[in-house]
């Protein structure tokens, strides 16, 4: 942190320049400044305050060198005051960072091996890419399930990252449907044009918020009954009130756009195709909670979303919708983007804070909750992008109109991510409470003979074909022992190799556990081993072993990853998909 011990390795000029630029972009300066031969400014406080520059610095280093080089780590240590062992510990936490010199300068092609892509032939894609000499990395769900098998290309030597959507536009199946609320601008407006956004109703909610006042905004969101769309279904107004009422003059908004729940791609759509809506909604959240600044933590594998959001932020600032005195008011708000680097766990809110602050993405024990001890241990409202975008409609049309759709306990509409064995995979909006069967019909119905649906993501559960009448609402799914999670509806027909699919889910948790707490760190490994061990045969006594593990993971793990790591696996066994 201060008295640093460095190895002899030195950064290249390109590495140093890239790291310097990244740090400046975070609004930071080098921690140690030699003012004269006899006067040096530096020390623990400056290092602590600059620590949040670490992840951007690592990204910059990796992008120019293709790995986290020893010289680069030393340069980061000298610039940000982060001890090399700590930078190493942080960098090695993330899937996107190579810790060893690959010996070449090729881009890395990440190929998704999760559910939708697995059944769409990801293995074959990998074999042919490798045969052609491409550097391939097997990735968990890339959030492009509608394009299975999906790829993400990670640039090297300063080349930019890209995904398929950079080249061919994303198809919005419901495009132009006048009943749409959340998707109404998608595919219709130019996502890079603020004028377009305003022409289609943009920034009217912010104006309304300013004229109503913060308390009235909170009341409106409250009476709309808005609940979080990130998975935990927590009432948004309650969270915001907590932050507004919390002690402290520094408060934060964090947009959790780390979307990594396998099967989920809704937030990517919002960011790529309607980025201004997130910027506007985050600004309203700042106004309502009293926060002056926000971060949007975008999944590292989402280059186009990052680019479009950055453009939206820049344009909004240029046009007076961010910064001091927004839209002629006396209210100020700033937004900054931070990129994740490949870690499902960083979607967990407290792990996200740790990651953003420049530490390993290890969740914190709650309480204390983010509303009082969030980012930098200060009061923080953290929300999913979809949750935030709902606020625009609530303010524009009023909470009464908002509640016209949905059920009393699950108000409003919901984004559903349909993928797998379905005719028209893609993102759909429908009212809460529509049935599973109706949702599948929206997407043209299953391909082949449907056998099971994975609802809510890898942290959700499989439901059988007898559940087509299941209402897709918080309370409806809960009553059936399932969950809506992040809106994943992934279909599997009778041709599916369920042993492979379920083994992959178990492997996903094994790979993604942060490793902090024992029940999860070891439990997910033993679970994966058990699934492999019992392949093709009946579970017999091993089922009770699985139940034993599940009980401890649910009860004693720190975070939601451990709590839900067995749910899908056990539901697959209950449905007879495996282990029979």
């Amino acid at each position: 942190m201060t008295d640093l011990h460095l190895t002899a390795d030195r950064a290249t000029d390109a590495e140093a320049a890239a790291i310097d630029a990244a740090i400046v972009e975070c609004g930071l300066e080098p921690v140690i400044i030699d003012e004269t031969d006899r006067l040096v400014r530096g020390g623990l406080h400056r290092a602590n305050n600059a620590r949040h520059g670490l992840l951007p610095a690592l990204h910059a280093l990796h992008n120019v060198s293709g790995w986290i080089s020893h010289g680069g780590i030393n340069y980061i240590a000298q610039t940000l005051g982060v001890p090399p062992a700590e930078s190493f510990g942080v960098a090695s936490f993330y899937e996107m960072f190579r810790m060893e010199d690959p010996g070449h300068t090729d881009d890395v092609v990440h190929v998704c091996v999760d559910g939708a892509c697995q059944i769409a032939g990801a293995d074959g894609v990998i074999v042919s890419l490798e045969a052609s000499g491409t550097t391939v990395h097997r990735s968990p769900c890339l959030g492009q399930c509608e394009r299975a098998p999906a790829q993400f290309v990670q640039g090297n030597q300063g080349r930019p990252d890209f995904v398929a959507a950079d080249r061919e536009p994303t198809v919005i199946p419901q495009q132009g449907d006048p009943t749409l609320r959340l998707l109404k601008r998608m595919g219709v407006t130019d996502p890079e044009s603020l004028d377009d956004y305003v022409a289609y109703g943009g920034y009217s909610a912010l104006a309304k918020a300013f004229s109503m006042g913060a308390e009235a905004v909170l009341d409106e969101v409250d009476s709309a009954g808005l609940k979080g769309r990130g998975g935990a279904a927590f009432p948004t107004a309650f969270k915001w009130r907590g932050v507004r009422g919390a002690d402290g003059d520094k408060k934060w908004i964090v947009v959790n756009a780390d979307e990594s729940e396998p099967g989920t791609f809704k937030d990517r759509h919002l960011m790529e195709l309607d980025p201004f809506s997130i910027v506007e909604a985050a600004t309203i959240a700042g106004f309502a909670t009293g926060a002056q600044k926000g971060f949007i933590y975008v999944r590292g594998e989402y280059p186009l979303a990052t680019k479009r959001l950055q453009n939206a932020i820049d344009v909004a600032r240029e046009r007076g919708f961010l910064g001091d005195g927004i839209a002629g008011s006396s209210i100020g708000f700033e937004l900054e983007i931070r990129r994740g680097a490949g870690a499902y766990i960083c979607g967990e809110e407290t792990a996200l804070f740790e990651s953003l602050e420049g530490f390993r993405g290890e969740p914190r024990q709650k309480p204390p909750f983010p509303t009082t001890h969030g980012l930098f241990k200060q009061p923080t409202a953290i929300n999913n992008p979809e949750t935030l975008v709902n606020v625009l409609g609530i303010l524009n049309d009023g909470s009464e109109a908002y509640k016209q759709l949905g059920t009393p306990d699950s108000t409003g509409t919901r984004l559903f991510c349909l993928s797998g064995h379905v005719a028209n995979p893609g993102l759909y909006e429908g009212p809460h409470g529509m049935t599973l069967g109706e949702a599948i019909e929206m997407a043209g119905g299953p391909t082949g003979e449907l056998r099971a649906v994975l609802l809510g993501g890898a942290a959700g559960s499989f439901v059988g074909i007898d559940q087509m009448d299941l209402p897709l609402s918080f309370e409806g799914t809960r009553a059936a022992g399932a969950s809506l999670g992040s809106g994943v509806v992934k279909l599997f027909n009778t041709e599916t190799d369920f042993q492979a699919v379920v083994t992959r889910i178990a492997e996903f948790f094994r790979n993604e556990s942060c490793g902090q707490c024992v029940p999860c760190r070891v439990g997910v490994v033993r679970q994966h081993e058990l699934i492999i061990r019992t392949a093709g045969r009946s579970m017999n006594g091993e089922r009770s072993l699985l139940d034993d593990m599940d009980a401890a993971m649910k009860d004693a793990s720190i975070c939601g990853l451990g709590h839900t790591a067995s749910t899908a696996v056990r539901s697959a066994i209950d449905l007879g998909l495996i282990g029979a």
Partner: protein
């Protein structure tokens, strides 16, 4: 600061004394505000297993062996870090608690060499942990012993990833940050940057990591050598508390003596001067006392 305002009392140490009363296994227990559920259990005479907790470190609540059941909480809570609150109802021996504690110990035993974690053996018996349940194929940590100098060794085959060494090396004591957790999940390890050897790292050999390690994963070289020679006999050792002979801080030392020879040095965690932490001189600078070495 004016004359009238100034007292000779420590203003930070004289808050308005408040206490909280909670119920543990049906009986009321009163502790000071700010104390943990673990403190409350201890004051009620309840033995609670702990692995990642130490009184001289900030709780990381990672091992989860200390969990208890709290009325109204969906999951179990770590007693080592949860602050006691008025009206809490805590169960420390319910089937859920016993099950999770057993599983934690069993999980650890199935992947890590716990042979020198003597405390744990007792708890394993108490909770009926059976690490053998996961079969011979169960993945283990598998790391070679790192012997890189004459002061201490690192045998991560015995590491339960309790983070104590990282905390002691970092902002809970030493502020050196020579080691950190690296990697993720089951592959996470305690490591220097790029796994460079300790002498090449930032390590200043304070041995504070050795002092807090609960499993023998970080071990004095003297102890390691004596164990290799099958000559380590803790039951024959005496422990004498004294004061370090080097600088003026006044660190307290515990000299572990076997066969009239000092075999290792620790420091009492509850001592107000340095809370169990030392520097290289106090921790390792005792060799000149040994009769085996000619005093030049």
């Amino acid at each position: 600061m004016t004359i009238a305002e100034t007292t000779t009392e420590n203003p930070d140490e004289t808050p308005i004394e408040t206490s909280v009363t909670l119920t543990i296994n049906g009986s009321p227990v009163t502790v000071d505000q700010g104390q943990t559920v673990l403190d409350a259990c201890t004051s009620a005479g309840i033995d609670t297993p702990t692995l990642c907790y130490a009184e001289n470190l900030t709780p990381v609540n990672a091992c989860r062996v200390c969990v208890v059941e709290q009325e109204g909480s969906r999951t179990l809570v770590p007693s080592c870090s949860r602050k006691a609150e008025d009206g809490m109802e805590i169960q420390t021996d319910s089937p859920r608690v016993r099950h999770s504690r057993k599983m934690v110990l069993e999980f650890l035993g199935s992947g890590v060499d716990m042979s020198q974690a003597y405390q744990v053996h007792r708890w394993m018996d108490e909770y009926g942990a059976d690490p053998g349940r996961y079969g011979p194929e169960a993945a283990r940590i598998r790391e070679d012993v790192k012997v890189q100098d004459d002061l201490y060794i690192r045998d991560y085959d015995k590491c339960i990833l309790c983070y104590k060494c990282v905390e002691a090396c970092g902002d809970d004591a030493q502020m050196t940050f020579a080691i950190s957790a690296s990697g993720r999940g089951f592959d996470a390890r305690i490591s220097t940057e790029f796994d460079v050897t300790l002498p090449d790292s930032a390590c200043v050999y304070c041995g504070n990591c050795v002092g807090v390690c609960p499993t023998g994963a970080i071990q004095f070289k003297t102890e390691f050598d004596m164990r290799q020679a099958d000559n380590w006999k803790p039951e024959e050792q005496t422990v004498t508390q004294t004061v370090c002979s080097y600088c003026g801080v006044g660190c307290n030392l515990e000299l572990h003596v076997q066969d009239e020879k000092i075999v290792k040095v620790t420091s009492p965690a509850d001592h107000s001067v340095t809370h169990g932490h030392l520097c290289i001189k106090g921790r390792f600078g005792w060799t000149y006392v040994q009769p085996t070495i000619e005093r030049r």
